[in-house]
């Protein structure tokens, strides 16, 4: 079918034949000889091949950069791999790093599926952390199971509420959600800064941090040799739930609908405003749960740097995973590996950590380019 639609006669004028014979390069780009045309059907293997090509290109570019700074690419990649997967402990630590990224990746993916550009995962993550601490601060003496449930709910509600500020403004006033979600990241950080300098501040210090939580509130760990905690299971479960939600429920259909064509969806009877509010609430709740997991699974006290860009990295992960909930798991593990392995790469090869951000950026750019390239093909028509 694709051939029938795209196999159109070139409309551009043909250059003289003599020119084409003299210059093979110009011949390649002769409008009449070759053309770039859009595929109507993008098959999985198209995406797979372009993705592999993108990753190969990324590796080549990164190797070139490593060579430029006078290091060995082979040693660097080996150190990166060993740091991420070299031992059982390092592999488990990679999963630890992936845990919050899965959740913030899902948060971005579900919102982007609906065409809502929620860039506020970082702030919603903080909201989840604050929601968790809020309950602990008030009712820390409750029995552990009840306290866990309350903290979980509070984190999800806080994340959802913070995201709803942006979606409420979007639905009611048409405010650009990119701007509001980005700016709300800063707003909540300053609110937290105020709380950590005042009511929540540990009485032992002027430092911006709470007291350490009681060890009864720590999320259980799977293995004694690793920090991998139950938050990872929650993240996997969340990915399955989001997958089911998007693929199997009415709301999921409506989310995909307004993401594809909001005008058509509205004519079809979908309540776009309601779906927008619901989607952002779910998105914020997922990011908030990431905050719950990080606080109770790893950090056990609230500090300003507890997020480490987890919310922003979630956006990259969602895009790399092509907004697929299960793909988010794979992408998050890859980025977790990059974070985990980069430290070993730094101290084993002396490569500055800044290169890790270059690796992330290069990979993202090429994977996104691959996503576009997979929709096109070059075809000889002359």
């Amino acid at each position: 079918m694709a051939d029938q639609v795209t196999d159109r006669a070139p409309s551009d004028p043909q250059p003289p034949d003599g020119d084409r014979r003299r210059d093979p390069l110009s011949m390649l780009f002769q409008p009449g000889a070759w053309r770039i045309e859009k595929r109507l059907v993008v098959r999985p293997w198209h995406e797979f091949v372009t993705l592999v090509a993108a990753l190969v290109a990324a590796v080549a570019i990164i190797a070139g950069l490593v060579l430029v700074i006078g290091k060995s690419p082979a040693d660097s990649f080996a150190a990166l791999y060993n740091g991420a997967f070299g031992t059982r402990e390092s592999t488990l630590e990679t999963l630890v790093q992936a845990t919050p990224l899965i959740l913030t990746g899902l948060a971005a993916a579900i919102a982007f599926r609906a065409g809502i550009w929620n860039i506020g995962g970082e702030g919603q993550f903080f909201a989840g952390v604050m929601g968790t601490w809020f309950v602990y601060d008030l009712w820390g003496g409750l029995p552990a199971p009840l306290l866990f449930v309350l903290m979980f709910i509070s984190a999800a509600v806080a994340g959802a509420a913070w995201a709803s500020v942006a979606s409420g403004l979007l639905v009611r006033y048409g405010t650009n959600e990119i701007l509001t979600t980005v700016m709300l990241n800063f707003v909540i950080l300053y609110i937290l800064s105020y709380l950590l300098a005042g009511p929540w501040q540990s009485p032992d210090t002027f430092y911006y941090q709470t007291q350490r939580m009681a060890d009864t509130t720590y999320l259980p760990r799977f293995f004694s040799v690793s920090r991998l905690h139950w938050g990872f299971a929650i993240a996997l479960l969340a990915a399955l739930v989001v997958y089911w939600l998007i693929r199997r429920t009415t709301l999921g259909y409506e989310i995909r609908g307004i993401g594809s064509n909001v005008v058509a969806s509205r004519y079809k009877g979908i309540r776009v405003g309601t779906v927008t509010l619901a989607t952002m609430a779910i998105s914020g709740a997922l990011a908030g749960i990431a905050g719950f997991g990080e606080l109770l699974g790893l950090h056990h006290r609230v500090q300003l740097d507890i997020a480490e860009g987890i919310g922003f990295t979630g956006i990259i992960i969602a895009l790399v995973a092509r907004l697929h909930p299960l793909g988010v798991i794979v992408a998050a593990i890859l980025f977790g590996a990059l974070v985990n392995g980069s430290t070993a790469m730094q101290y084993e090869t002396g490569i500055p950590k800044a290169l890790v951000f270059v690796i992330e950026g290069t990979t993202l750019a090429l994977v996104l380019i691959a996503a576009i390239v997979s929709r096109y093909r070059i075809r000889k028509t002359g």
């Binding site: 390092s90 002027f206 911006y208 790893l298 740097d305 480490e308 101290y347 950590k353």
Partner: protein
């Protein structure tokens, strides 16, 4: 300005006597802060000769009992202690930032002296957030390559989580916001309020507007200490010179590294009439350079070369702190002296202890002011002047 300097000349001559009086007012044996302790050294051998004992805890097999034959054999050479010390250091920011750069410089200075004949190497790991500290410190410890691992910021939670799994490694962490861990986790700190006080003397003597400022990160003890001392020094000398009340304001930019915001804060302070700015963070100098008659003061590293408007800097030195860590590790390794970190931070506060010093002074500072500063510095080093350490936030 020249007229003011002339008028000031005779008054600065009397500075030492006045400082001595001030020393009485501020002096006493007060501890600098409730959380601090006098610098302590561990039970380390003070001689540099290699100890003869070989019961090193790091050896996996117990040393066999000395046999009679061995005892009767002549010793060809002294048993050797360790010859290498590999240190790893993780940082919240980059190694160019003052907090880390000064520690790196100190390690290099100590390494140059080769204590105990050791070859000391330093591995530097940048941009490790507090939240990521445990993972990285554990990674480093698991390599088995490092005898001392320093989390050069608020990494006590990370050290507390890791230290018991690696009892042969000495861990250290530094600065405000930490909690003591004891055992093989040492909490070190420096306060540079004394050289900041000396910088304040220059500011108080040279200000034309009687309004001075500070641009700082967060209202934390390590930040507040030098700011308080800076204003105290300025106010003291202004009083001596009869210049009237000095007003002071501080802008906390809520970041450890945000030169753009720091620059904006300094520009606002200059617009409000400030002409002497203590730059606790990077950034203010570019704003100061654009104004006339405004000068800046560097913090933690000697920043005279960074900008022509810098008059001097309050400089931190970690040499004594790091040397104490080396001593503790060496004593443990060679003599089996158990790590026993105090349950409080070990503070290297004073210029006498070598915890801080005043940086180079710009030629823009008049000679009589420089003389006054030199006399005040001598008073501090001689114990005549004690600069009070105040760590509470500045209102």
């Amino acid at each position: 300005m020249r007229k003011l300097m002339d008028r000031r000349a005779y008054t600065l001559v009397t500075l030492v006597a006045a400082l001595a009086l001030f020393a009485g007012a501020c002096g006493g044996d007060d501890e600098p802060a409730a959380t601090t302790a006098a610098p302590t050294t561990t039970a380390a051998p003070t001689t540099t000769a290699a100890p003869t004992t070989t019961a090193a805890p790091t050896t996996t097999a117990a040393a066999p009992a000395t046999t009679e034959a061995e005892m009767t054999e002549p010793m060809d050479e002294e048993p050797m202690g360790p010859t290498e010390l590999d240190v790893a250091m993780i940082m919240l920011g980059t190694k160019e930032e003052g907090w880390y750069a000064t520690f790196i410089d100190s390690v290099h200075r100590v390494a140059d002296e080769a204590p105990y004949g050791l070859t000391i190497t330093l591995e530097q790991i940048e941009e490790i957030s507090y939240a990521d500290g445990e993972r990285v410190i554990r990674d480093l410890a698991q390599t088995g390559e490092y005898e001392i691992i320093v989390g050069h910021s608020t990494y006590s939670d990370a050290v507390a989580a890791v230290k018991d799994d690696f009892p042969d490694i000495l861990f250290a962490f530094s600065g405000s916001g930490n909690e003591p861990t004891g055992g093989n986790g040492y909490w070190i700190d420096v306060f540079i309020h004394e050289p900041a006080y000396l910088a304040g003397i220059i500011a108080g003597a040279m200000t034309q507007t009687n309004h001075i400022s500070g641009v700082a990160a967060f209202p934390f003890p390590n930040v507040n200490g030098p700011l308080h001392a800076f204003i105290d020094g300025a106010r003291f000398v202004a009083t001596q010179l009869g210049k009237g009340e000095i007003t002071f304001d501080v802008a906390y930019i809520e970041s450890w590294f945000d030169p753009a915001t720091a620059q904006e804060a300094a520009a606002a302070q200059i617009a409000a009439g400030s002409d002497m700015i203590y730059a606790e963070r990077f950034g203010p100098f570019s704003a100061i350079e654009e104004a006339d008659g405004v000068f800046g003061f560097g913090h933690f590293t000697d920043q005279l070369g960074l900008s022509p408007v810098v008059l001097t800097s309050a400089v931190a030195r970690w040499d004594a702190a790091f040397m104490d860590l080396v001593d503790a590790w060496y004593a443990y390794t060679t003599e089996g002296v158990a790590y026993d970190a105090p349950m409080e931070r070990i503070v290297y506060t004073s210029m006498v202890d070598g915890g801080s010093s005043l940086g180079e002074i710009s030629d823009l500072v008049p000679a009589d002011v420089q003389d006054g500063v030199a006399q005040a510095e001598a008073a501090i080093l001689g114990g005549l002047l004690r600069v009070e350490l105040k760590t509470d936030p500045i209102e």
